[in-house]
Amino acid sequence: MSGAALTFTFDGKTYAARPGQTLAAALLDNGVAVVARSFKYHRPRGVMAAGVEEPSALVTVGEGGRAEPNTRATDVFVYQGLVARSQNVWPSLAFDVGAINGLASRLIPAGFYYKTFFGPPRRWMVYERFIRKAAGLGPAPADADPDSFDHRAAFCDVLVVGAGPAGLAAALAATQAGQRVMLVEQDSVPGGALLREDVRIDGVGGPEWAAQAVAQIRAGGGRVLLRATATGYWDGNLVSVVQRLAEPGQVPAAAAPVQRLWKVRCGKVLLATGAIERPLAFGGNDRPGVMLAQAVRAYVRRHGVVPGRRAVVATSNDDGYRTAFALADAGAQVVAVLDSRAAPDSAIVDQARGRFAVLTDARPIDTRARGQRLATVIAQVGGGEQRLAADLLAMSGGFTPVAHLHKQAGGDLAWDAAAQAFVPGTARQAQASIGAAAGGHDLAAILAQGWAAGSGGAPRGFAVDDPLGMGTPAGAAEVPQAARGKAFVDFQNDVTLSDIDLAWREGYRSVEHLKRYTTLGMGTDQGKTGNMAALARLAQAQGVDIPQAGLTTFRPPYTPTTLGAFAGAAVGEHAGPVRRLRLHQAHDDLGAAWQPVGYWFRPRSYPRAGESLGAASLREARMVRQSLGMVDVSTLATFEVSGPDAAALLEMACATTIGRLGVGRGRYTVMLREDGLVMDDGTAWRLAEQRYLLTSSTGGADRMAQHLSWLRNVMAPHLKVSVVNVQEHLGAVALAGPQAARVLAGLTGAEAPAHMRCTRAVLAGVDVLILAASYSGERAFEVYAPGHQLRAVWNALHGAAVAAGGGAYGLDAMDHLRVEKGHVVIGAEVDGRVSAHDIGLGGMLRKSGGFVGWQGQQRLAIATASGRRQLVGLTVIGGQALPEGAMLVTQEGQEPLGHVTTAAPRVAGEGWIGLALLSDGRARDGQELLAWSATRNLRVPVRVCDPVFYDREGARYRD
């Protein structure tokens, strides 16, 4: 081989390749005929195609986290050091034990597994283990991906998919018309069909013309992406394009992603996606050495590889003849051209008759191999049979326009009886198909059509020089009657003509049933080569034309697409958003243990060296009861509501009275959903005559923001009110404990506000808002400051707190304190299924209604207390810890009456307490129950009690 510049390995053996060769081309070049084993029967398989439609030549490329199993050898370009391995073989590609399945193939026809392996599920699982191991193609990956993927949006007036002659002409025209143009091509070079044909356009060779066209498009401002496949066509003329920046298994350039997913929003989409050649169905049509005719041409002309020395060409159309000429020109012997037509009549056939043995009404029906490679073609010629010695059979059963994207976009297909093919019909979005994808076959006509589509109708001629001339592209789709042995239709899934016949006999007659029963078209090639032959066979069995037999759906992606490309940068630590507190560093400095709360990370506690989380949180909670503590509550939802109608808006959202609140005062409140159950709770503060601050839970912040906006804009657009979400703007630190008022006064130089009063003050030079609200049961204050000034406030408070014997506390301590005080929390006690009455807040609701949810909560089963789960307290009888989440039962084995929503150690005392939702709970006061956790093997006796365990009179709130 000349010009070799690269080396690669296949199954451990080193080979040479030329730049620009696909792995398939390089393997053929090196005489490697058997590349893979088939899915079910483990038959030896070679390379059949030259593009993404390849069903058989699947290999694993790359190593470790870069390994890409099931890579089509036809769709990876050789790079220096490429490592490829055969797959689904044991012990080796040449001798594969799994091939025994082929011998037993009569026992395992399509759907055999539905008819056997009965018995209990566990027994099926025993058989299934063997089936699972035998199934699967490539090896399972085990490592994380070392590389990255990228997402990028793009907008254009015209997206052209495919840089063959039609696509290039269209993109050229659109660029010259001043449009924003994008051209994407899955191959590594432009040209499409031009790369395999001996033609000249405007005086230059095809590949050169294509390269010049790309340069012109780029010079005109167009964006041309190579190695970029349009995989999905979605609503709104959005096309996903996956661009390979590195080949499968290849180490990308430094810091560069391996693939980029382009999300292209298009004014118009021109689909120049070409056509795929159909194989012929005959016995042993899967042997290495049997290839698609156009693929053979591509290997000969583009890759400089002649895949056989003695070739038979079998065709149903004129195009196949071009392969005979290409092979002969490259020095191969063309043994015969088998033309299934009885009397083909065209210039190319006439030319061929002068050079080759052209046999008409002739078709292959069976093959023989020497070793594993094709050696003999058995052909039916007229009424007789001929045996032809050949190591290459180039076949062409006609062409299937690539209408996948057209169909994905909602377009329908029309049946072209002359071409025996489905072609794009009516489009639903702003799209058009051009070139071979639209059933075109004459190069000059394709170029003119492409230009017209790109220019918006302006014509232009191209001078095409094609010595062979284009004839009729396709004959009838062949459904041979005389096929012997295994005639494969779906090569990858080993579906044969007899499988299709069996499915028909058993009543799986809808094309979708056929597909699902036989697994036809369900392989990684998505039936690109096989579906039409199967459809023809089905139509024949039904006695109808192909269009009446139906068509399966085309689903994205057009070619198999790497999952990493869909995920983009959202992997690893970045797999989900992270919301960071303004005080993150301050907490970290104090040794915070972090806890995820939605997307936030909040301090759970600040354990000392050697201290457990439980001990730390109890210490912190006791610190609050004894002196004071401070906790970051910046994640609370906060809204400023201003204007003359502010109270009116708040009374729509809140089920409690707001309007009578005096300036400088606040009140606890609760919000319901429209179904009358509790959505959230919080506090409302009147900061000024026409200005309120509403707080609500961290977890419900986004929901509350949407809800308030809904009320303001849709339900009450006439109100004079402004609702501003200030959750991000206002950070907050809560200060709680018997020392809190004194410490705060010391820092502000003013008396701390009384319970449920608010005031403004200056603290550490920062204007702050102080709300006197308590969640812990102690005298407590929430100090609000703009986020960028919060650190100064925190530092001042922390310094003073430490001096007073206090310090920071985390979420666990906060939880212990609130449980002891009987406060509910959204997400635990308020689980989306409780009413205000259930949690003891029924008395707060406005009797007059007028708030969201007032109607819903009057429904019978909500308004009737009997049988509802109600909030209660639990005291553990004995010294055990109370398991959160445990079921409450009268005795083990009984159905649960309720469950422990939150459990906590007593802060002001010993032992464990908890809150619970308990069926008819309030009537069970004093009852002994069992908190039973079967999954944790815990049984803790508890007594039902009032949910407030600490300072029931609220004396500690007041000074």
């Binding site: 709104g236 429209e674 906006s709 809904w710 804009n713 849709v714 339900m715 657009p717 708030f851």
Partner: protein, 87 residues
């Protein structure tokens, strides 16, 4: 992904929008309880066009009403909801 013609921002990607509910399921706060629940829960759910309320949540945050086909996803009309707006 649909392209939604926001009355304030022009055509924008669907990712910026959130669906809220059908126009006919807006529950007036003064509706009687039984009528309110019927409005909330009984949906026509047609295999055709329906008036829907959406929000440009990750854009201008404005509310809009779409008439949208539930098979083709074609949007046949858009109008803004909310208070009067300065041009």
């Amino acid at each position: 992904m649909m392209l939604i013609d926001c009355p304030h921002c022009g055509p924008r990607a669907q990712e910026e929008f959130t669906y809220e509910r059908t126009r006919d399921s807006v529950v007036p706060l003064d509706a009687a309880p039984a009528a309110a629940m019927a409005t909330l829960y009984a949906r026509a759910n047609p295999r055709g066009e329906e008036d829907e309320i959406w929000r440009h949540t990750l854009g201008c945050r404005g509310w809009l009403e779409l008439r949208r086909h539930r098979m083709t996803h074609a949007i046949v009309a858009v109008r803004p909801l909310g208070p009067a707006v300065l041009p």
